[in-house]
Amino acid sequence: MAQRKPRLAVFKFTSCDGCQLSLLDCEDELLAVAERVEIAHFLEASSRVLPGPYDIGLVEGSISTPAQVEEIRRVREACRLLVTIGACATAGGIQALRNAADVAEYQRLIYPAPEQIRALERSTPVADHVAVDFELRGCPIDKGQLMELLSALLNRRCPRLARHAVCVECKARGAVCLAVAGGGPCMGPVTQAGCGALCPAHGRPCYGCFGPKENANVDALVHWWRHVQGVERAQIAAQLQNFNAAAAAFEDAARRLEGEK
């Protein structure tokens, strides 16, 4: 097969770089990746940039400035398959906490020359602006899922990216359910799997960093925490408003919790 290698590009918007680092972290597999694809654009790893079009584009970060709104359209056009990676790109990230606040006010408080700042009112997921082919959730993403996605795309099969609850992975590991056995409010039952139930397996209730599962019934869980377990409202709000605060299922539940006062 004298085929040219597929070209991989990695782009960054508003984010901490942690998800891109997960790719560099794949140490053992990274060589294999480099054998199978041409890394054409990956500024975190190399300043060598090849022009598009690209076969696979991995996009990290949320869209939070007017310039990024333009930029993501160009990226979309340059990539045959566009994959968003991490909570920022898939749900607006931790910076979306400002979505519920007055951004102009923040700017006045923090910057000496706030008029220099061009920011959107909301930190938004990439999918609000352009079509997305696949999503890798998490803060940061899971290395295993990244390798699974790349293997699937390179071998032309459908990637296994479960949309069910973290609970399925927790039970497969044989971990004790923290939600029931007194471990505190765990986001697992409404959070998408993919991390392998990392936190619950170490005795820490799920923070929800993979965002809402398919069909998430967040209100029902919030109701149970508040009215049966007597969890403080502030603690519930903290669970809903972190890495995926702008994911619709979490954001709506947080708003209703607020309205319930």
Binding site: S151, A165, A181
Partner: protein, 380 residues
């Protein structure tokens, strides 16, 4: 077949005999805030002096105030975890010089001794095995593990908060031919076990322990202990009324109650994953980057996931209403059509381990009550 008295301090001798006979002994152990089933090397691994408190969506451990090894009830894990592991590789293939080579998975041979199996769970294992046996492609791997396993049952001297075995006829007394049946006794004598073998394999183990004989006092104490459990269960019975259950569910498939339950249900799948009889699984293929190696895996799945009923165009059961209804009606009605009895043994795990305490027996009672109310209205 034979009975004897095993003094509590000789429980280690029994566990030792099981290991010596080549079994991997699995029994209740404490893990954080709950009991699970895991490897037991000696009696010090057992949750001595602990009882479990279970209710819908809530579980905690408490000191029992006595030195019982088995004062608790069913642990969080279903035994199916060992007979039907939640993740298991089925086969591998490698591409060499453009040719695919298939490598059959050879299972490491493990013979389990399950120590502390309760009456309901024995039925759960029986029902799970019956499912594995049914159909054109029996699950031989599961059946092999079951056939080679040794069951050391323990009588329930206490009923858990969510137990309802009596309603299903699966307990509290051990009525299946377990290899060994132990009743833990504290009354009318020192801390001891009435040990009874019900199979050849069990009898051999007892023989090697050369136990002292059981007296009338011991048998009477054992009978009293189980009778007390039966009384507790009878007081709250029926949680699940069997009479006309299947027909009730078939009549109520369009009840608005399913929407109400769906309003509470998280569709998280915990109920099916802890249920001793739920058997659904998914098959997944994994490749490496080069496409030179392929692995096929079996993993536990559930009718509460969207992937489970995914076909071209979307999942057949997209709503939580449809998923909850599938679960409950399968357990208590379709299962009877498929396998001649319900798929529930009344262990209560799905109630305890539901993160929002949904109780299937309560859903059934609500369906019944509504139907009665409606027919009452019609008559008026």
């Amino acid at each position: 077949m034979s009975t004897g008295i095993l003094p509590a301090e000789r429980l280690d001798a029994l566990i030792g005999e099981l290991w010596a006979a080549g079994y991997t002994v699995i029994g209740p152990v404490r893990e954080g805030g709950a009991l699970l089933y895991d490897e037991v090397r000696g009696s010090e691994d057992l949750p001595v002096g602990l009882v479990d408190r279970q209710e819908g969506g809530r579980y905690f451990l408490e000191p029992s105030g006595d030195g019982r090894f088995f004062g608790h009830t069913v642990a969080a894990t279903p035994w199916k975890r060992f007979l039907d592991p939640p993740r298991r590789r089925l086969w591998r293939a490698e591409r060499r010089n453009g040719q695919l080579h298939f490598l059959v998975e050879t299972e490491e041979e493990v013979r389990f001794a399950f120590l502390g199996v309760r009456a309901c769970d024995l039925h759960g294992i029986r029902i799970r095995s019956a499912v594995a046996e049914a159909g054109p492609e029996p699950d031989e791997a599961l059946l092999d593990r079951r056939r080679s396993a040794l069951m050391v049952a323990v009588q329930c001297t206490r009923a858990g908060g969510t137990c309802f075995c009596a309603d299903l006829g699966t307990g509290p007394a051990v009525d299946l031919p377990a290899d060994l049946v132990l009743t833990e006794l504290l009354e009318d004598g020192p801390h001891r076990f009435l040990a009874e073998s019900r199979t050849e394999a069990g009898a051999k183990i007892l023989q090697r322990l050369s136990l002292g004989p059981a007296g009338e006092v011991d048998r009477a104490a054992a009978a009293r202990a189980v009778a007390a459990t039966r009384r507790t269960l009878a007081e709250r019975s029926p949680r699940l009324e069997r009479e006309g259950l299947r027909e009730l569910l078939y009549r109520q498939l369009e009840s608005p109650l399913w929407d109400e339950v769906a309003g509470r249900c998280l569709s998280c799948a915990n109920c099916t994953l802890v249920c001793p009889t739920c058997f659904c699984s998914a098959v997944e293929d994994v490749t490496d980057l080069e496409g030179a190696r392929l692995e096929r895996w079996h993993r536990a799945d559930s009718c509460f996931t969207a992937e489970f009923s995914q076909i071209h165009g979307g999942p057949v059961r997209a709503s939580t209403r449809a998923r909850y209804r599938q679960w409950l009606v399968h357990k208590l009605a379709y299962w009877s059509d498929q396998f001649g009895e319900p798929g529930c043994v009344g262990c209560g795990r799905c109630i305890t381990w539901c993160p929002v305490g949904i109780d299937l027996t309560e859903v059934v009672r609500d369906l019944r009550r509504r139907e009665a109310e409606e027919s009452g209205e019609r008559e008026r």
